[in-house]
């Protein structure tokens, strides 16, 4: 075995260590550092955006419809003369919100189910496994469409649909991680010290797989945004006139051929940037959490 001299060095504290590790990873990885900055920017838009934008994102003006980018309208205007920059910025909150809540939901349900399946095995495993298999056997995007179509196209249902299609992924990852740890020494030790199985699951297994799940959550955030955009393109998205990137791209798509490229391009870029950010961030987090398994 190659000896790793770094491991032999004394280490001060967990938090400090993680911070230093993060800094090390970021310094050696400008792409991840960039994605962190991007995330801060997006969060800034989501929190402060509505009070910063130059125009009312919903105010139409038929006289100014479909104007190319100019000093007054940096991103141009759309079919109804609304300021695209304002709409793109304001949409950040909704899009990030959809992504965040769907990921939180799937983590809570899928992650927990997966951990239980991996840890308890037996029937729990079989039921969760079957459920995940059944969902996997569906084409995911079509399933998401079906869920939204069946429940109605509200933000809540988009969140639910995104969570449902991600369930197998989370359940599988959590199951795998729990399975590896099910008979780890410290879990056996916890049994010896009188912890019940459920308690071990919640206090021992779950916290230990959190970092790996965090990586997945970041990657899924990007997918959730894309998913919502795809649903919007089909016409199952958020209700108009609420600004949302997917709808804006879908609406703008019909103007590309006629030369009004800005209508679709800027929301498309925002969408891409956000998904890009979360994907890179997920990669970066993986480097920090688990350098061995970066994919």
């Amino acid at each position: 075995m190659p000896e790793n001299p770094a491991l032999a060095l004394p280490r001060p504290s967990a938090a400090g260590n993680l911070l230093r590790h993060a800094r090390y990873v970021l310094a050696g990885n400008p792409v991840t550092a960039f994605s962190f900055l991007l995330l801060l920017f997006l969060l800034g838009c989501a929190l402060l955006g509505p009070s910063l934008v130059p125009h009312d994102p919903q105010a139409s003006n038929a006289l100014r419809a479909l104007q190319a980018p100019s000093a007054q309208h940096l991103f141009g205007t759309d079919q109804l003369g609304r300021d695209i920059l304002s709409r793109v910025v304001v949409a950040t909150r909704l899009d990030l919100g959809i992504a965040f809540f769907s990921v939180a939901l799937v983590f809570a349900v899928g992650g927990l189910a997966g951990v239980a399946a991996g840890f308890f095995g037996g029937w729990t495993d079989r039921i969760v496994g079957r459920l995940a298999d059944t969902i996997m056997a569906f084409p995911l995007f079509v399933l998401a469409m079906g869920v939204v179509a069946a429940l109605g196209n509200t933000v809540t249902n988009i969140v639910i649909a995104t969570a449902v299609v991600n369930f197998p992924l989370y359940a599988r990852i959590a199951r795998g991680e729990a399975l590896v740890r099910r008979n780890a020494g410290y879990v056996q030790a916890a049994r010896l010290t009188g912890n019940g199985e459920l308690r071990i699951l919640l206090t021992t297994i779950l916290p230990n797989i959190l970092p790996i799940m965090a990586v997945q959550m970041s990657l899924t955030m990007g997918y959730a945004i894309l998913n919502a955009a795809g649903l919007s393109f089909i016409g199952l998205g958020v209700r108009p006139p609420t600004p949302e990137w997917g709808i804006m791209v879908a609406e703008g798509a019909s103007f590309i051929v006629s030369g009004e490229w800005w209508v679709a391009l800027f929301p498309g870029l925002a969408l891409m940037l956000a998904v890009f950010c979360f994907n890179l961030l997920g990669d970066g987090l993986r480097d920090i959490v688990d350098p061995q398994r970066r994919t």
């Binding site: 298999d133 995007f141 795809g230 051929v257």
Partner: protein, 336 residues
């Protein structure tokens, strides 16, 4: 091998039952009254009731389910109201189009992603690595419908490099005699270069659009599994034995790294097959994805059910194929 296959099929049965039940329920809770929709714009209440009875929608859910399962058992997937054709027939004619497109996209993606992933792993932390990461991530960050539209605009409308996006063949070309129903293969079999080129030029843009999307997962997994393989002890043995770099990278590291790549390839394939809905829409590709979406929007149950069942069967078949492929690559897999 046979045992692996059989046990795979055994575990797939409950999933299949689950898919049948979920699909049935999902299509039944879809809002919208099919009967009203298809009765036409100025239908009387009786006309609607008549259509409802004709569709069997006036029965209770269990009865409808029973009928549905009985039909399925006879291989009858029902008739699409949207296109008026038997679903089985439509899926059979449309599946090759989707499969050809998806496979082409996947092939393109694999041809680009695998070398890229290997390179990134070999030069971990270098600019190649970062570039690979940024490019592939950017590819997966773009909604496919956006990429597709942009591609049509630039390559067809502005530059005129690509032919008009009107499906698998341009309107004036004649399809080669059907053998595999893959136009590229059939035209070659028929020795018809002209049709082959026509089909190739039609498939190029949509396949590229799909490939761009499939690039990221493949490149990532290639890179990761190459890193893991390169890091493993047998590579150290190979290096210590003085084997040349080519043998080490390709014969030793890459063949071992292929296992997760193959799994991901299968996953990406099944994902794309269902998810190229949007690409099919943009490029007027007569595949099953766009078929299912149109049906879903129209609350047309039968095609949605048929599509989902087909996908489920494909998914199971695909996993089986991957298992068998695994057995070819990895002797350990044969042991079960």
């Amino acid at each position: 091998m046979l045992r692996v296959a059989l046990s795979r099929l055994g575990t797939a049965v409950p999933s299949l039952i689950g898919v049948v039940v979920v699909t049935f329920l999902l299509t039944r809770v879809l809002p919208g009254d099919t009967a009203t929709y298809f009765a036409g714009p100025v239908a009387s209440a009786e006309a609607i009731a008549q259509i409802r009875a004709q569709l069997g929608l006036d029965q209770t859910l269990p009865v409808q389910f029973g009928r549905y399962v009985a039909d399925l058992a006879r291989g009858d997937l029902g008739t699409s109201l949207g296109t008026g054709q038997p679903v089985l027939h439509e899926i059979a004619t449309r599946l090759p189009a989707s499969a050809e497109l998806t496979l082409s996209g996947l092939l393109l993606a694999a041809l680009a992603a695998v070398p890229l992933g290997i390179l990134a792993a070999l030069r971990q932390g270098s600019w190649v690595d970062h570039l690979c990461r940024v490019v592939t991530t950017a590819g997966v960050s773009l909604p496919v419908f956006f990429t597709g539209l942009l591609a049509v605009y630039v390559f067809y409308f502005l530059l005129g490099w690509a032919p008009s996006p009107v499906g698998r063949l341009d309107a004036f070309a004649t399809a080669p005699p059907a053998v595999t129903n893959f136009l590229l293969i059939d035209s070659l079999l028929a020795g018809d270069t002209e049709t082959f080129l026509a089909a190739l030029s039609q498939i190029a843009l949509p396949a590229l659009t799909l490939a761009l999307f499939a690039l990221a997962p493949l490149a990532r997994i290639t890179r990761a599994s190459m890193l893991a393989a390169l890091d493993s002890e047998f590579i150290r043995t190979a290096r210590a034995s003085g084997l040349n770099r080519r043998t080490i990278v390709l014969t030793y590291a890459f063949r071992n790294a292929m296992l997760p790549v193959v799994t991901t390839l299968g996953m990406v394939f099944s994902f794309l097959l269902g998810a190229n809905v949007l690409v099919e829409k943009v490029f007027a590709w007569p595949g099953i994805g766009s078929y299912a979406v149109e049906a879903l929007i129209a609350s047309d149950f039968a095609p949605v059910q048929g599509f989902v069942l087909t996908m489920a069967v494909l998914y199971i078949a695909l996993n089986l194929a991957i298992d068998l492929l695994y057995g070819l690559i990895d002797p350990r897999a044969k042991e079960g």
